[in-house]
Symmetry: C2
Amino acid sequence: MTRELMELIDNRKISIAKDQLKKMQAVDIAEIINEMDGKNSLLTFRLLSKEVATETFSYLSRDKQAELSILINENELKDIIEDLHFDDMIDYLEEMPANVVKKILKNTSDVERKLINQFLNYPDNSAGSIMTIEYVDLKAGMTVGEALKHVRKTAPDKETIYTCYVIDSTRILEGIISLKSLVLADPQKKVKDVMKTNFISVNTYSDQEEVAALFKKYDLLSVPVVDQENRLVGIITIDDIVDVIDEENTEDFHKMAAIQPSDELYLSASIFSLARKRIQWLLILMVSATISGYIIRKYEAVLQSMVVLAAFMPMLMDTGGNAGSQSSTLVIRGLALGEIKLKDFLKVIWKEIRVSLLVGTALGLINFIRILYIESSSIQVALTVSITLVVTIVVAKVLGGILPLIAKSLKIDPAIMASPLITTIVDAAALITYFRTASWIIGMSF
Amino acid sequence: MTRELMELIDNRKISIAKDQLKKMQAVDIAEIINEMDGKNSLLTFRLLSKEVATETFSYLSRDKQAELSILINENELKDIIEDLHFDDMIDYLEEMPANVVKKILKNTSDVERKLINQFLNYPDNSAGSIMTIEYVDLKAGMTVGEALKHVRKTAPDKETIYTCYVIDSTRILEGIISLKSLVLADPQKKVKDVMKTNFISVNTYSDQEEVAALFKKYDLLSVPVVDQENRLVGIITIDDIVDVIDEENTEDFHKMAAIQPSDELYLSASIFSLARKRIQWLLILMVSATISGYIIRKYEAVLQSMVVLAAFMPMLMDTGGNAGSQSSTLVIRGLALGEIKLKDFLKVIWKEIRVSLLVGTALGLINFIRILYIESSSIQVALTVSITLVVTIVVAKVLGGILPLIAKSLKIDPAIMASPLITTIVDAAALITYFRTASWIIGMSF
C-alpha cells in the first residue's frame, strides 16, 4: 500500500491517489507522508479532505510538521491549527521552531494566546501538560433532556463526549456523568440527580505517572483535571494515557540499562546525543568497578600462588550480577505496578533469602561436580568456587531485593537500582568472598 | 480509610460501615476485602448493594473470589456470576477450582455453557481470550433514530455503547459507528449512510500484543473481533488493553533480566516457583561463562608473568557488559514500540559503530590517564587496558545493536538478547582482546 501510493504520487496519478487515500486511516497516511520529500508530501497532504488533513497533521513527525508549516501558506496553516485538538496543538507548538510559533500566535485572539501560554508553561510530565480543554460541561440544574441537547450541540468540537462534567457558575467541579447514564436516564430528571459525586479527579500538577495509575486502577476513559481551588481546567483522555504508559516504561527500561532517559527517538537522535546519554553512567560504573581491581590487587599473593583461580572469576561475577538483576527487576517492576509496597520490606528480604539459598545451593552443587569431574581441578578449588557461588548469589539476591526498596523510601527512582549498579557491588562482594575462602581452604589444606 | 473500615467491621458497627462503603469505589472496597479474613470479608461483601457487589467481586483477588464463592450460597453466587461482564466471568472461571466451576455451570443454560466452553478454549494471549460479547449490534437498514432507541434499550447490559457494530443477518461485520456519530446524525438517516466501513478489526487468534499495538496506533476505544468468516464474535475494550500493555512490558522486563516470564505475582508466588523461574537462565549463563574461564586458562602464562593484569578484568568486563546492554535495551525497546524495524539493520549498525567509537575513545582516554597517573602503573599496562576498553565497547555496542534484530528476524523474542546474554559474549571478546593486546604490547617492549 505504502509503495503503491508513493509511486502514484511520484507519477502524478493524482485522481487514483486521491481514491486510495480515501480508503486509508489518517495514521497510515501520516506514516507515508513522513517518508516523502517536501514536494511530494505537500502534494499528498493537499489531496486530503479538510477533516482528514487535520487528523493526519496531528500524527506527522515533528520534523515533517515543521517542514509543512513552512511550505503551506498562512491561511491553510491557520485553518489546520485551529481544527487541531487543543492538546495536539500544544504538543505541536512546544516542538516547533520559534518563527513558526510566532506565525501562528500572530493569528490567534488575545484570550486564546493567553490560554496557550498557560498550557505551554505546565511542567513536563504534569497532568496539565497532557490535558485538553475540549470537554462537555453541564450545569447541575439542567434536565437530562436539556443536557443531551447541549451535548449534541457542542459535540463536534469535543475530544470526548462520553463523560460530561458538571460545574457551577465559578467552574467548580460538582459531579461527572457518563453519556451512557444520560442516554439511559429519564429526560425529565435533573442532571444533579443522575450525576456521580464520588468521582476521581487529578490536579494540574499531578505527575502523569500517578494519573496513569489511576486510569489503570479505576478503568477510566477520561479524568477531570482541577486547579488548587477545585475549578475544572481540563480533562485527560485514555489515548494520551496509553502514550504515557509507554513513555514511563521506556524510561524505566532505559534507567535499568544505565542510560540517561529521554524521549528522543533512537533512529533520529544524533550520535553525540546518544553518546552523551550513555557515557555518564558508564563512567560512574567504570570508576566504581575499579574497587574490584583494588580487591584483586590486595589478594595478588593468593592469585600469584594459584593462577587457576582467575579462571573462575568471570563465571562468579557474571552469575552474581545476573542473580542480583533478576531480583532487582522483579522488585522494581512490582513497585512500578503497585504490587509491592514499601511495607513489604521484610517479606521481600525473607523471600529473597530463601529463594537465593535454593538457587545458590543448586548451582553450587552443579558447579562443584563440574569442576571436580569435568575440569578435573582439585577439590579445594571446587570447594572454594562453589562456596563463593552460594554466598555471592545470596548477597546478590538480597541486595537486588532491598536496594530498589531503599531507593524508593529515599524518593529516588528504584529503576536506578538495576543490574548495572548491582553488578558492580556484587562483583566486589564476590571477589572478597572468593579470596578469603581460597586463603582459608587452600591455606588450611596445603 | 482502609484501617478505619476494618475497625468498624471488626467491632460490628454495621450501619456506619455501610455508610462508609457507599462513598467508596468498588476497586478500593475490593482491596480492603482482599486483606480481611473469610468471616469479615463475607460480612463486608454482604453490606454492598447488588450492583456494587458485582463490580467489587470482579476486582477481588483470585484467592478471595474462590473463598467467597464457597462461603456464599448457591443463589447469591449465581446472581453475581450472571451480572459479571462476560469477559470478567471467563477470567474468573479460568482460575477457579473445578468444584466451583461445576457449581456454576450447573445453573447455566445449554447455550451459555457452550459459549463459555468456547471462550475458555481460546489460547492464552489471543484476542479471543480477552474479548467480551457485550456489545451493541445494529443493522445497516435501521434509521439513526431506531438505532438510538435500540442502544438505549440494550445499553444496561453492555460493556461499552460508545462504539456500535453493524452486522448483516449472518453476523458478518459490515461497519462500525460511534455513539457520537449517532447522536450527531439526522435521526431519519440510515445507519448504512453514517457508519464507517474502513475500520480496524482483529481475528480471534490475533496475538494480544498486536491488538494492543493497533489500539495505540489508531487511538481506539474498542475493536471488533471477527472469526475466519468475518463474522463478529466479540469486542475488546481499552481497559483490558491497558492491562495487556502492562503484562507485555512485564514480560519484557523479566526476559531481559533472564527470568522465565509468568503472570504470577511476586508476593504471592511460592519460593520454589520463583527459584524455578530464575534457575534455568542462571544455569545456561553460568555454563556459557565458563568459556571465559577457558580463555583465561589459555593465557595463564601471560597472567602469571603479570598478575597485575587481573586487577583490570572486572572493570573491562563490567564496562563491556554495560555498554552492550545499553545498546540492546535501546534496540529491544525500539522494536517493541515499532520505532525500529528490521529494515533499519544497517542504520543501527552504523549508528552503534559511531556512538561506540565516541564513547569508547572517551572512556579509553580517561582510563589511560587514570592508570598512568593515579594508579601509577606502567605505560604498557595503561595502553593494554585502554585499547582493550575501546575494542570491547565497540564490540559490545555493535553486538548489542544487532543481536536483537537478528533474533527478531528469526522470530525469536528480541528481549532475550538483553544484558545477561550479551555480557557473556562480551566477556569472552574482552578477555581475548585483553590478553592478545597484552602479549603484543608487553612482549614488544619488555
